[in-house]
Every structure is written in structure tokens, then in C-alpha cells.
């Protein structure tokens, strides 16, 4: 059920008795601006820490515990050309508790908590609390730096920087960058906060045993105003480079992380979208794929070798973990798999298995409240809602010729290797 709450504010209600919890998700969406990404990430950290009514982390944590371990958090993410600040709150449905004594049901209390976080933050004298601000800025700084401790993440980040050199909004992580962060003040964050509340598109979604009346009544108390939301699609269009960008770094790693980036000019609303999803699954997106079979199972060169497709940016990324001296061999095997698909050589049995596994994966989403909630964002951003029946029909219709046509549009753009150097 999809409702307009105000101009630019929507509510999706997914009523179900399947789960023991009620899940709430609130997305604040705005076009990506390199200068704003970091400020929004820091704002999310500060808002998550405390509120006027719960002025310390402990006070907020104790409130969440009192609400039977309500799961509350704020995260930031990127989707193509859009930046999203996402609040989530999941509470137990009190009908499953043996002795629930509170007057107010937990869904309403969850909504009240989100309201407090968003509209009554800790603002002594109209400014964010200086101690909280400084501490959370420092914590975000270390969190961004610590991301690089994960060498697979680091290799992927460097690959994105190669691929999108000179395009900071795409090259940057959703958390922003340390240079901007060091310069941000509490006043900057306050401005970002007011900007977000007043102008962002707001998409709220609720899943659980909740009526539309209850959801609307809870939202009616939120002081959200009408806003004009630019009607832009989230797709990031870019021009392929004529030469492959290559990069590598030496780091104290035992295993080399070899990553590749390809352009595929197919986006979520294009007619070849489903063919591209299937292409990716055949190429490296599943354990049945050519990459898994040929790099790992046949050649024993890797434990992981996989690909992923981003339908907002028209990119396919490949990740492998290998012995550095096998780099040339692995690159050749990967290139061979793409060439195989470009020649249209896909076994019918493999195609049938891949389709079955994609359908299976799609249906398992129906058993996860978090994934159902997150899935509503795609519909909001693209203005396209595909029913399960239509999705399945599109999947079934994909042919080898379709995969070949997509494969022929896939061009290698960048390769990056993080390795241990000469030993």
C-alpha cells in the first residue's frame, strides 16, 4: 500500500502477520553533492548518539532496551546519483511477549523514538552539543580510516577511484572523505540538518502486523512539511574510456586482491535490465558462474572470484583473491569468460540453473523484513514497481542471444591489484 503523506513524503505499508517484529524505515534522499556527502554522514552519527529527551548514549540505549531491545540505527548509502540517510527501527510485536505492561504498543513507541531522534535532537541553545559533535567527528574519522583495514574493501575502493577519477561523487564512499570531515563545524551540521528535514524526499516504509490507520496516526504527529522534490532518476550516465586504467599498490598482504571494473550501459529501467542481471549471474554473480567454475574450481587459483552489477551506475565489478604471480593467468581466464559470452556460448542447462537460482533468491527476499523494506527504495527512486509475476516473466524471457547482446556491450575500464610486492 502506497500513500502520499505530504508533497515529497511517502509511506509504504507492507501489512503481514509473517514476522514477530514490526520494522520501520525512513529514507531521506537527495541528489549527491560531493560537498554534502561527508556532512550528511556526520549528521547521521550525531543524530544516532542522543536526543533532547535521551541526552547521552546510555540514556538512549536504556530506552531501546526498555523497548525490548528495539533495533535502532542510522546509516548512509549511495544509490547512483542519490545520497540516502536511512533510519531504521525494528521492534518486537508485543503480542509475542509474555508480560507486556505498557499502555502504548511497541510500534507507536518505535515511531515516537524516531520522531524524537529526527525532530527533537540534542540542541542546547539551538546548536548541536559541542562535546558530542567533536567526539562523533573523531569517531567517524577513525571509522573511515579503519575501513581500509579490510583489504578487499580497500582494493575495491581504489578500483572505484581509478574508474571514476575526477568524478568525486562517484569515487567517494557514502561516508565521505577525511579532508572534508576535518573541516566540518557543528554549524555546518546544523545547516545540513535543517536542509535535510526541509528539502529531502522522504520515503517511509513499515512492515508488520500494523493497520494503515495506526501508521498514519503515528506519522500525523511528525512535523514534516510539503517539499518540492526534483523528479530526477538515480542513474549515473558516463562515457566509456578508450584505454583501460590500471593501478596497483604494495601493501603488507599475503594474498593479492585483483579487481576489475567494466562498463555496461544498461540501467534498471532499460529493456535489457533483466538480461544484464542474468548476464552477471552467468559471468560471476553466482557459485554456478563461469568465474567461479573456471578461476576457482577448474584452475584452483582462488577461493573467491565473483562479479556484481550496479544497475544505478552501469558498472560490473569483479573481485578475486589470488597469488600475485598468477595475476596474468587469472586476467586471461576472466577475459576468456567474457569472450565466451560475447560469442553467445552459454549452455542451455547453465542458463536454466541460473534462472532458477535467481528466482530462488528473489523469493527468499519475501522472508526478510529488512530486505523487503530496503527494496521499497528502488521502487521510489526509479518510479517502477515490478510485480513478482512480471519479474518472473521477464526472467523467463531472457535468451542466450540477449545475454550475448549485453556481453558485447561490456567493456573493461579498469584493473587494480593490491599485493605484497617483491618478496
Amino acid at each position: 500500500m502506497h500513500l502520499r503523506i505530504k508533497d515529497g513524503v511517502t509511506l509504504d505499508l507492507l501489512p503481514t502477520k509473517q514476522f514477530k517484529t514490526v520494522g520501520i524505515k525512513v529514507d531521506f534522499v537527495t541528489p549527491l553533492r560531493a560537498t554534502a556527502i561527508t556532512a550528511r554522514a556526520l549528521l547521521a552519527q550525531v543524530l544516532e548518539t542522543s536526543t533532547a529527551a535521551y541526552p547521552t548514549q546510555t540514556a538512549l540505549a536504556r530506552q531501546l532496551s526498555a523497548m525490548y531491545g528495539a533495533n535502532f540505527g542510522i546509516t548512509v548509502l549511495k544509490a547512483g546519483t542519490q545520497h540516502i540517510v536511512r533510519l531504521t527501527c525494528s521492534v518486537v510485536d508485543e503480542q509475542y511477549l509474555t508480560s507486556y505492561a505498557d499502555q502504548q504498543p511497541l510500534f507507536e513507541r518505535g515511531m515516537a523514538l524516531l520522531k524524537a531522534v529526527l525532530f527533537a535532537p540534542l540542541l542546547p541553545q539551538g546548536h548541536f552539543d559541542p562535546t558530542t559533535f567533536t567526539q562523533q567527528r573523531q569517531n567517524l574519522l577513525t571509522a573511515i580510516k579503519s575501513l581500509d583495514d579490510d583489504k578487499q574493501y580497500l582494493a575495491n575502493r581504489r578500483l572505484q577511484e581509478l574508474l571514476f577519477a575526477g568524478q568525486p561523487t562517484q569515487a567517494m564512499s557514502a561516508l565521505g572523505d577525511v579532508t572534508t570531515l576535518g573541516e566540518l563545524t557543528a554549524d555546518d551540521i546544523l545547516a545540513t540538518y535543517h536542509e535535510m528535514l526541509a528539502h529531502d524526499a522522504v520515503h517511509i516504509a513499515v512492515i508488520g502486523d500494523v493497520t494503515v490507520e495506526r501508521a498514519q496516526a503515528a506519522l500525523a504527529t511528525w512535523p514534516l512539511v510539503d517539499r518540492t522534490v526534483p523528479d530526477t532518476l538515480p542513474y549515473y550516465h558516463w562515457t566509456a574510456k578508450t584505454t583501460v586504467q590500471t593501478g596497483d599498490d604494495v601493501a603488507p598482504v599475503t594474498q593479492a586482491k585483483l579487481n576489475l571494473a567494466y562498463r555496461v550501459p544498461v540501467y534498471r529501467n532499460d529493456k535489457d535490465f533483466m538480461a544484464t542481471v542474468v548476464f552477471n549471474a552467468v559471468f560471476g554473480g553466482t557459485p554456478l558462474s563461469l568465474l567461479f567454475t573456471n578461476v576457482r574450481e577448474k584452475a584452483s587459483l582462488a577461493y573467491y572470484a565473483s562479479s556484481s552489477y550496479s544497475s544505478y551506475t552501469g558498472t560490473i565489478s569483479v573481485q578475486t583473491g589470488i597469488q600475485a604471480q598468477n595475476q596474468t593467468r587469472v586476467l586471461a581466464i576472466i577475459a576468456d569468460q567474457l569472450a565466451t559470452l560475447q560469442r553467445g556460448e552459454v549452455q542451455p542447462e547453465l542458463l536454466a540453473e541460473i534462472k532458477a537460482s535467481l528466482l530462488n533468491a528473489r523469493l527468499t527476499v519475501l522472508d526478510s523484513p529488512q530486505r523487503l523494506l530496503a527494496g521499497r527504495l528502488n521502487a521510489q527512486l526509479t518510479h517502477v514497481t515490478t510485480s513478482l509475476t512480471d519479474w518472473q516473466a521477464a526472467l523467463n524471457a531472457v535468451t542466450v542471444a540477449d545475454i550475448q547482446r549485453v556481453a558485447q556491450q561490456v567493456t573493461l575500464q579498469a584493473t587494480y591489484c593490491l599485493h605484497g610486492g617483491e618478496h
Binding site: T21, D249, S300, E353, S357, N360, L363
Partner: protein, 435 residues
């Protein structure tokens, strides 16, 4: 015949039986779900590297990493790979090895019967040859090296290595590149015949299923096969580390941006057998919550002093033959972190009394989290304890938790911390070199 236990408040029922061949079967239907998750587990993991192989009389010390290697190789057969059979029906399958268990699983939204047969058949029909064993060494070698580059894993294993030096627990679950190189097809058969008897295994299914029909499928599959009678397992216990042999402190250098500290507490007290063991586990987990979670005064004080940050976490683990707690954080002040944590641990009873006002909150939170986990077919299946806590489930954990009182915690806390021994494993940064 299935026995059933209903948990009325939650609207869930657990069905169980033990087959004639000894296989434990646990079935949990989930109304409204689209997916069925099945997991078959043997009570055999990375620590079980020294045993008397079934049909022999003398103990044999097998190469480290053999249980995990066997897990990889069980999928491959003479003319096919079980992975591909699941693939035909679109099911996703996987497997994992822990210190004490090896599990094989699939998740599917259709063709449950066919997938169930594939699972039972591939786990119960081994096929190992020198060629297939050799082929896997490169793959597992890369898996080991992937973990070598994972600082969180290294920090965790550094701590365990200090708590259990010279015991098999201190060896990485996958072994080392050198140890797996020694594994032969004959070794895999010996381990398989010893530990993969149905009497040492369980099969748990959760999700879209009809219990009676599912049991019929399992029984029909098993009836087609012949199993030797069960015989007692003869695991050779490793020499136990005396309390004064626990390594107090180690420091390593890795490619990390900030120091990582992992403080471990090894229990030397006896964990009660059966269901009481689960109560012990749940109680100690609650003690850790009271002392260290974000509702505690300790947490706010240390957070505001920049001793801990959002990377701080803790865990308490009970398993066959070992139990330990862990406190871990990235921190700019490793010495301060260690000192503060040790100060809290030095007087647990007093610390607990200070935290007593939060008991109801912490208990509520634990109850809520468990009920939330009932949304997940994987969580329900993975929480099945096997022989460790007499086949208890997540629902039993909830029952125990709801009955717990604050006064129950102190004796158990004193028993664990009183006899426990601590270690600290520190990882310090070595700079990234760019060129």
C-alpha cells in the same frame, strides 16, 4: 514418530525424532514463509584431529585442517558436483566448519524433496581421490591466505592461541598451507568413517515444510541405505594448558590503521552438562551485557574517555570442551583499554551489584533480540545446539532467559571469573607503503 513441543506465545512448534540409524531430526514449520532452510551437522570440527579411526585400534594424529578440507571435498563426486545438483533446482547450498562441528546446508523455495535427497546423498556418499584432493589444495590455500589478511580474524585467533597454546583450538580452522599439503584421500576416508555416522549427526529443517511429509522423505531416503552399527567415538584429548601456562600478552604488527586489542578470559570451571549448560551460557552472556553493553555506566565512561568507540564488542562462547569470553576494540590507547577492562574484571561481584538496576532492561533486550531472531529460518536452525546442550533450541533459550533472576547470575559469574585466566592479544599498525 515425531514428538512435538509447542511454544504457544510465539505460535511456533518444534517437531523431533531420532531415526533408527541414530540421526537426530528437528523440524520447525514456519507459516507464511517461502523458503526452507536445511542444515545437516556432524559433531566433528577442527579440534578433532587426534582420534582412533573407526575399525582401527590405535590413535592417529591427522593433519591440521582436515575437518574443513573434508567439508570442501564432500561436494565433489566421481561424475558430478553436489553443488551443481542443487543448482538444477535453483537452491543455494553451502557448508562451514567450526571448532567442533561441520555443517552442510541448502536454502530453497521449491522442490524441497529433491533438494533434501541431494543433501542426504552427498553427505552420506563420500568420494575422495588423490586427484580431487590435490586440486582443492590451491583453493583452500587461498582461503587461508584470505584470512591471513583479515585483521579481525587475526586478532580473535591471536587471543585464542594465547588462551589455548598447544591445544588444537589454537590452530586455524582451515589449518595451514603446510598442514593441508599433507592431507590424503585415505585421511579423508578415515575421518569420514569415524565421524559421519548418522548417530553423530543431526538434520534440522526450518521454514516452509510439512513435518509429517518431510519426515517421510527423510525416512525413505535413509531406508535405502545400509549403515554399520554405531560405535563409540574415541577422541584423544589434547594436553590441557595449566592455568599458569596461559600466555599473558602477545603483540603483533599488521596492516591496520589503529591498534586492535582482544582480551580473552578462559574458563577453568566446569560447564554443567545438558540443558543446565545452556542456562550457564545464557547467564554468563547476560553478565557480559550488564558489565559491558551500552546500557552500562562503564560503557559511557570509557566511551567518553576515548578508551572505546563504536568498534568495541564482546562475546561469550561455550562449546564442546572449552568456554571463553572476549572483549575487543580498536583503540588509540591500548594500555588504557587493557587497564580499564582488567579493573572491571578484577571485581565482578561489585561491578554486577552496581549494574543491578539495569538487569530488567538487559534481560528485556535479550528477550527481544531472541524473538526477533525467530523471523530468520537460518537463525533458528543455526541455534540448534546438537549434543552440546542436549539438543536445545532458540525457543528453549528464550524459556530459560525469561525465568532468570538477577540473583541467579552471581554464583555463575563467580564460578567463571573466579577460576578464569586472562590474556591480551594486541595488534599494532605497520604502515601501508604506497608507490
Amino acid at each position: 514418530m515425531l514428538t512435538q513441543q509447542a511454544y504457544d506465545r510465539l505460535g511456533e512448534t518444534v517437531y523431533r525424532t531420532t531415526l533408527a540409524n541414530g540421526l537426530q531430526v528437528v523440524l520447525v514449520p514456519k507459516a507464511g514463509f517461502h523458503k526452507t532452510f536445511a542444515i545437516m551437522t556432524t559433531d566433528y570440527g577442527s579440534i578433532d584431529n587426534h582420534f582412533v579411526p573407526r575399525g582401527q585400534t590405535q590413535p592417529v594424529r591427522f593433519p591440521d585442517g582436515i575437518a574443513h578440507f573434508l567439508e570442501h571435498k564432500l561436494f565433489e563426486k566421481e561424475d558430478h558436483d553436489a553443488f551443481d545438483l542443487f543448482g538444477k533446482y535453483g537452491a543455494s547450498s553451502n557448508a562451514f566448519t567450526s571448532f567442533t562441528q561441520t555443517s552442510y546446508l541448502f536454502a530453497t523455495t521449491s522442490q524441497l524433496h529433491a533438494n533434501l535427497d541431494i543433501l542426504l546423498d552427498f553427505v552420506q556418499e563420500p568420494y575422495f581421490t588423490p586427484a580431487t584432493v590435490t586440486k582443492e589444495k590451491g583453493i583452500i590455500g587461498q582461503e587461508i591466505q584470505m584470512y591471513d589478511d583479515d585483521p579481525g580474524w587475526q586478532s580473535y585467533f591471536g587471543m585464542i592461541g594465547n588462551l589455548y597454546p598447544k591445544e588444537p583450538l589454537s590452530i586455524d580452522i582451515a589449518g595451514t598451507v603446510a598442514s593441508i599439503d599433507q592431507i590424503t584421500a585415505a585421511d579423508l576416508y578415515a575421518a569420514y568413517r569415524t565421524f559421519y555416522h548418522p548417530s553423530n549427526m543431526s538434520l534440522v529443517l526450518v521454514g516452509k515444510l510439512d513435518p509429517t511429509e518431510t519426515l517421510d522423505w527423510i525416512s525413505a531416503n535413509q531406508a535405502k541405505k545400509t549403515f554399520t552399527p554405531a560405535s563409540p567415538l574415541q577422541r584423544i584429548a589434547s594436553p590441557v594448558t595449566a592455568p599458569d601456562q596461559v600466555i599473558a600478552h602477545t603483540t603483533r604488527y599488521l596492516a591496520v590503521t589503529r591498534p586492535k586489542v582482544s582480551l580473552g578470559i578462559r574458563g577453568y570451571d566446569a560447564v554443567p552438562a545438558g540443558r543446565a549448560g545452556l542456562r550457564y551460557d545464557v547467564s554468563l552472556s547476560l553478565v557480559f551485557d550488564l558489565l559491558f553493553n551500552d546500557t552500562s555506566d562503564n560503557y559511557l565512561r570509557l566511551y567518553n574517555a576515548n578508551v572505546i568507540d563504536d568498534s568495541f564488542g564482546y562475546d561469550f562462547l561455550v562449546q564442546r570442551g572449552a568456554h571463553f569470553g572476549q572483549l575487543a576494540s580498536d583503540t588509540d590507547n591500548p594500555e588504557l583499554f587493557i587497564g580499564e577492562m582488567q579493573a572491571i574484571l578484577a571485581d565482578v561481584p561489585a561491578q554486577l551489584r552496581t549494574a543491578q538496576p539495569q538487569f530488567e532492561l538487559v534481560k528485556r533486550e535479550a528477550i527481544g533480540r531472541l524473538i526477533g531472531a525467530v523471523n530468520s529460518v537460518e537463525a533458528i536452525a543455526n541455534q540448534y545446539s546438537g549434543p552440546l546442550f542436549a539438543g536445545s533450541t532458540l525457543f528453549d533459550e528464550l524459556t530459560i532467559l525469561e525465568a532468570l533472576q538477577f540473583d541467579d547470575l552471581l554464583p555463575l559469574a563467580q564460578s567463571f571469573f573466579g577460576a578464569g585466566r586472562q590474556t591480551v592479544a594486541t595488534i599494532l599498525p605497520e604502515g601501508l607503503r604506497n608507490r
